[in-house]
């Protein structure tokens, strides 16, 4: 779960990391109020969770309260990658001597947390790693001892600091690790960490992603997620509430399947045959008819969908149950769009019988079914 920049900064400040003075606003009046308490120049930053906010024009600068108001108005009327800007953060702009990167994330290959530091801040760290790997310093963190003050100082030294700046950087980095552990983050990064002309360090931007699977330990965020106080679309929210894995795509073939790998492969196969999937939706193992109804509902709520492909490989799940579930769901949701179903596995024959009786195509081969749904989607599109 991503949280907003202003939330991340509030957390960092709580852990003693210096952040720019600022405030959150949802309308221009609030902007005026906040801006008048700050010392210009100011940074006016759209609070959106999508990546590449800066490049999309989501960060503006202002030298006065009135300029700040104008910038804020502009941002509040803007969409960034399709997401409307609901709130903005106004803060004092830092006079930057150097921009650094500090982050704690997961090293999958080493089954470990990893601390990352770089003297190249302000860019995505993956890009820095690709272009100048020698400028990215990594240190694996073993849970037994964690990332301690001396590890943090060792990192600070490796990016070229010494003396009191080294200890300050060390404290910031150590605090970042504590944030990571306390909030169960997948990623916590300060990027850039601004080094000012008087040698101080200020978190100019910050990003935190909380491990979705640990949200049971962070109920305030779990609650927020379920209450939709985030940037989720109604479909995404509905999916989360029904424990469905759902991702919106840009095509016209709705896809539902059981198992993440199978659904991904289904999308790939549709694409291979020239079709365009409208979504990823995994109902998981042993889905109930309720769950399948919810899945159909979510997928079909996209007006672009011209045809639906349900790909079920019944292993432990029985095909007859799935078929009944689909029928129930179909009736409840009132599906009128063409459906192609691929259904194999346990009790396959009974499942097929149930579905063919009501005139639904049932196929055995995933490739054949994919070709069929692609063809239908094209015909429907041409109507």
């Amino acid at each position: 779960m991503k949280i907003f920049e202003y939330e991340a900064k509030t957390i960092l400040a709580k852990y003693g990391i210096q952040t720019p003075k600022g405030g959150l606003a949802t309308d221009v009046n609030q902007v005026r109020e906040i801006a008048s308490t700050l010392k210009p120049p100011l940074a006016i930053k759209a609070q959106v969770l999508v990546a590449g906010r800066g490049r999309s024009g989501g960060i503006l600068f202002a030298d006065s309260v009135s300029e700040a108001e104008k910038s804020a108005e502009k941002l509040l009327n803007m969409q960034i990658k399709g997401i409307p800007v609901r709130s903005i953060w106004i803060e004092e702009k830092i006079q930057v001597k150097n921009e650094l990167y500090l982050g704690i994330t997961i090293d999958r290959a080493n089954r470990s947390y990893v601390a990352i530091a770089s003297t190249v801040g302000g860019m995505e760290i993956e890009e820095v790693a690709a272009e100048a790997p020698e400028k990215v310093i990594k240190s694996l963190i073993k849970p037994q001892h964690g990332f301690r003050s001396f590890h943090a100082r060792q990192m600070a030294r490796k990016i070229g600091y010494s003396g009191s700046q080294l200890t300050t950087l060390g404290k910031i980095f150590e605090a970042l690790y504590r944030v990571s552990m306390d909030y169960d983050t997948e990623l916590v990064e300060i990027n850039p960490l601004a080094e000012t002309f008087d040698g101080k360090f200020v978190a100019a931007d910050a990003r935190i992603i909380i491990d979705d699977n640990a949200l049971f330990r962070h109920r305030e965020y779990k609650k927020r997620l379920l209450e939709g106080e985030s940037e989720l679309t109604p479909q995404e929210l509905e999916a989360i509430r029904n424990n469905l894995a759902y991702v919106k795509l840009n095509g016209n073939i709705g896809v539902i399947g059981n198992g993440a790998g199978l659904v991904m492969a289904t999308l790939d196969t549709i694409q291979f045959y020239g079709g365009k999937p409208s979504n990823f939706l995994d109902v998981g193992g042993g889905a109930t008819s309720e769950k399948i109804a919810a899945a159909l509902n979510i997928v079909l709520s996209d007006p672009n969908v011209k045809a639906l492909f349900i790909n079920i490989l019944g292993g432990i799940t029985r095909c007859d149950e799935v078929a009944t579930g689909i029928l129930k769901a179909k009736e409840r949701v009132g599906v009128t769009k063409p459906i192609v179903i691929r259904l194999v596995g346990t009790n396959e024959e009974e499942g097929k019988r149930i579905l063919t009786e009501v005139g639904i195509h049932v196929l055995e081969s995933m490739e054949e079914a994919a070709q069929k749904v692609v063809k239908i989607s094209k015909q429907e599109e041409e109507r």
Binding site: E126, P143, N258, V263, G314
Partner: protein
């Protein structure tokens, strides 16, 4: 033969009294797996399909020596269950449970490494060595004994491909899922090493997906070690957008890292035959095995 489990594997089931644990214990017993005891704290003294249940792993092992555990415990307690098994000396642990927090999984893996234990999963369908033992939730009937080793990051996609092999009479030695989480125990390289040593295994099927760089590292390993057995791969997620989690917690492209293209390119440069569609895996394999 096959790897990791065989006829001599004696397993306990942690979380045996839950719906999943109960159901799959039955299926595993039917398959012939030696399930010697179950563990659910507070439920000691029960019997599940004839298997005695204990409150603790320690208590179970006192009565029933076992060398493996399969874990169906809910995500909140699953890492604890794995640590309990590890501390009580079990060296092969299959964690079926999905949605275990990363922090907890890292703890388990670090400890497992220290005591040289094998962890499969979390979020895995488990492992099956055909006609010897099954510690997992995969439908047994799609598998047949043979010489293909399978290793995968996905469940149903593995069944899809395994069923395809079986239809073509390409039987399997051992088939196992690494698990769909970002932090898992065994990885592709670990399993490739095991298949290398297994005389029954003649070729390997590797089923990867977007996210992380395990497939790329595996390609490096294959090149460096001049891996002696043919490998056929399928990588799911060519059509996945960046920044979105595709069902599995681990299936996510971060920035430009973890794409299917990168993995396919790396594997092909290592001489691995990467299939375009799931059904192509069996076809490629049939060609290779014929050679």
């Amino acid at each position: 033969m096959g790897i990791i489990i065989d006829k001599n594997t004696h397993a306990i089931v942690q979380g045996i009294t839950g719906t999943q644990g109960r159901f799959h214990t039955k299926l595993m017993l039917e398959y012939g797996t030696k399930i010697v005891a179950g563990v659910t704290p507070g439920k000691g003294g029960m019997q599940i399909h004839g298997v005695p249940v204990y409150d603790t792993v320690e208590a179970a092992l006192e009565k029933h020596p076992a060398n493996a555990s399969i874990i169906f415990v809910p995500a909140i307690f699953a890492a604890e269950a794995a640590l309990e098994a590890l501390e009580n000396g079990i060296k092969t642990i299959i964690i079926i449970t999905e949605h275990i927090p990363i922090k907890d999984a890292v703890n388990v893996m670090t400890y497992a490494e220290q005591v040289n234990a094998v962890i499969i999963g979390p979020n895995t369908p488990g492992i099956i060595t055909s006609e010897e033992s099954k510690l997992g939730i995969m439908p047994a009937h799609i598998f047949m004994p043979g010489s293909i080793g399978m290793v995968s990051r996905s469940g149903t996609l593995t069944y899809e491909i395994a069923a395809g092999l079986t239809r073509k009479q390409l039987g399997q030695s051992t088939c196992l899922g690494l698990g769909g989480d970002p932090i898992t125990g065994l990885n592709f390289i670990d399993v490739l090493k095991m298949f290398r040593k297994d005389p029954q295994t003649k070729a390997v099927v590797l089923i990867g997906e977007i996210g992380g760089n395990l497939e790329e590292l595996t390609a490096e390993y294959i090149i460096k070690e001049k891996y002696p057995k043919p490998v056929v791969a399928f990588i799911a997620g060519r059509s996945a957008p960046p920044g979105k989690r595709m069902g599995h917690a681990g299936a996510i492209i971060m920035g430009k890292a973890g794409t299917a293209e990168s993995k396919i390119k790396a594997l092909r440069s290592a001489g691995v035959n990467v299939a375009e569609k799931p059904s192509d895996v069996a076809k490629s394999l049939a060609r290779i095995i014929d050679i």
